[in-house]
Symmetry: none
């Protein structure tokens, strides 16, 4: 099989065009394909219409192209992507026993009967290779045709994320740019990162891809650069680097750090309302280093569950360094943990004041006798402020632990 | 000018294809165009390449179509959308005095000199009508050609929002009504929904779009159907319908229900680790009806924070109906709330047993003297199981409250 050199995306679904659903797959796939050395040259969104799907496949699946389709693999009558592909390529549709096995296996692992109609998802264009979907029923599909490679994924974003790399691997496409490297950072704005790195870029001629998410920016460098370049980048960014591994999340890195020291953490959250705890417990095996957390949204609950004196809250305000520190220490005691993290702030859209505008967040952490407490200012919507606060809360404890080496 | 009957979108920009920028204009424009009676039938994203832009314009600007382009109207060398349009339509580019007036007016209103190169944005295909951009410099462009209408907008999302309606009005396009409806459900699998609705679909000929996310499926119907159709759908799906409003989340609906009754809820989570609490506090104003929550990941913390007897956990197991109920009642007491929700289960990937395989989750809720506790079985990855459990936990309390009318 010839390795494709570029990629195209075809997203299928009326709901993407009607404003009912926001497509997020283009952004994820565009970035991923780029890192795999397969730049996306065009993307199209078409309706659940057989002729429109077939026409787009014919126009996009060119020699040397990897065409990724999303959507329309499910069991319902508007799921017709594979039929459109078969029509475009002049291939018959066949019952695929391997796909049927994946589907029945999925249901039996749930202890359920295969519902009527589910095996429609095992009817594939001749020559297709089905790929197990760890997050849903419909298998991914890999097909070589017209000098290109076609990968069909479901439309649900988390299924796309779970399936995409397996499909690339089934298609025999391996990552290029393995000579590049990644630097994952927390707590620095993209613009500040850019200004910090600009002199290096001018000197070494290597400019990274900036991949921001709230409170975190991943830097992807395409090549290794001159000897010492990576070390220079890392030492410039200092304690705000949490990992050099592309797939390691901040939550995982903190978990590994805690586990390696035999420590257990507890969390106390006001404006983030459980997001720190939810993020940490998203890591498999978190129970080894996570005791639990509280979401203390009201002042009364801060007093009731964490023993924070009412007078302190009245005197300093719930969004203050003293209350943040009392929360971190209080939750550590409440759970009998070794470390504590706390977040208290104003996520908006309401609740801001001139002294404490929306986006003001206090974050504290403690580990043994060491404590730290600081104020942060995040921009954006309620969601963005909350997610950025989570990143900083995790980063603050990670930094406290790493300094204690 | 003939009123178009459908629309197409052409987004121009390398950054949209490389994963550097997330396109949000498709979602906004798709929804807006739908409400204006101009359903979007196709969307394309192409690079900043003259031939690619021109080819896409030629293919998309058909008689009866409104083609909206976004991006590439600025002053820099990669802003070439209007040049591509001129090439596609065989029109010369001309200095447009009206556009130059809008640009110089913009700078003078800011008390600034017109920067070098800014008047490049006043060079338009012959026949273009420029439209004032209240949020930026580059004017919008309206052009009638090939039996269709073309509107060119900048790529910056807030400029798109500010300019789009003015451009429609300049093009003489007035709003029509939308006739479809939405049914948002929780706790029913997509396949089961499909089988439940299939007889109706056969009878009424209206088949919805199925939009699944973990533990929830939204149904979008394009038209109103026969009289009584919507009511029939809703009564068939019964208590699993949480809203008929397209933009209302399950978290918001539960918040509205609690607030309208003057009730406050608290949450106790094991496998979901704070996700229920995080979801509820994502709703602005949640403090009016959300007291707080605990993430009690270890058995010791269930005893310590919620007073659940160790013997109960030993006898029944942490993942059991009795412990779930004790958690819901315990957290209500701990926060002095009116209602409680609890989740305890096995999210995987490890921890499953033959009796309680990965995906087994107990969910309980209480409100006043009424309690409910039940077991659920979710498929998929750790993330999917956790998110589906959140949906059911919210749905279970919503149903308990609604039954108490």
């Amino acid at each position: 099989m010839v390795r494709p050199i570029r990629a195209a995306l075809l997203a299928v679904g009326n709901e993407l065009l009607s404003g009912r659903t926001r497509d997020v797959n283009l952004h994820f796939l565009g970035g991923s394909l780029n890192r795999w050395g397969l730049p996306l040259t065009e993307a199209r969104v078409v309706r659940d219409d057989l002729e429109e799907i077939a026409a787009a496949v014919r126009e996009l699946l060119l020699p040397g192209t990897l065409l990724v389709t999303t959507g329309g693999l499910g069991p319902t009558s508007d799921d017709i992507t594979l039929e459109g592909i078969a029509r475009a390529l002049g291939l018959p549709l066949r019952d695929c026993p391997a796909a049927a096995g994946l589907i029945t296996g999925r249901y039996s692992s749930l202890g359920e009967k295969v519902p009527e109609g589910a095996l429609k998802q095992a009817v594939l264009p001749e020559g297709s290779v089905p790929v197990r979907n760890p997050a849903g029923v419909a298998p991914g599909v890999v097909l070589t045709a017209l000098g290109g490679v076609l990968i069909s994924l479901p439309g649900v974003p988390h299924e796309v994320r779970e399936l995409f790399h397996s499909c690339l691997s089934v298609a025999g496409i391996v990552e290029t740019g393995a000579s590049g490297f990644h630097v994952r950072t927390w707590g620095i704005r993209e613009g500040d990162l850019f200004n910090t790195l600009r002199p290096l870029q001018d000197k070494y001629g290597l400019s990274p891809a900036y991949l921001p998410s709230p409170g975190r920016v991943d830097l992807g460098f395409d090549g290794p650069g001159a000897p010492g370049f990576r070390d220079t980048v890392v030492s410039l960014l200092g304690r705000r680097v949490y990992s050099l591994e592309q797939d390691r999340t901040l939550e995982e890195v903190l978990g590994i750090e805690l586990k390696s020291r035999g420590l257990v953490v507890a969390t106390a959250e006001s404006c983030t309302g459980g997001l720190v705890s939810a993020g940490l417990t998203g890591v498999p095996g978190a129970s080894e280093w996570f005791a639990g957390g509280v979401s203390v949204y009201s002042n009364a609950s801060k007093t009731r569950l964490l023993g924070i004196p009412e007078q302190l809250i009245r005197a300093r305000g719930a969004v203050s360094g003293d209350v943040a520190l009392a929360m971190a220490l209080g939750v550590r005691d409440a759970f009998g943990a070794d470390c504590g993290i706390s977040v208290t702030g104003i996520a908006g859209p309401a609740g801001g004041t001139p002294e404490k505008p929306v986006g003001t967040v206090w974050i504290a952490a403690c580990s043994g006798p060491r404590t730290v407490s600081g104020t942060w200012r995040f921009g954006g919507t309620r969601d963005t402020v909350r997610l950025a606060a989570v990143s900083s809360a995790l980063g603050v404890l990670l930094q406290l632990l790493r300094e204690d080496r």
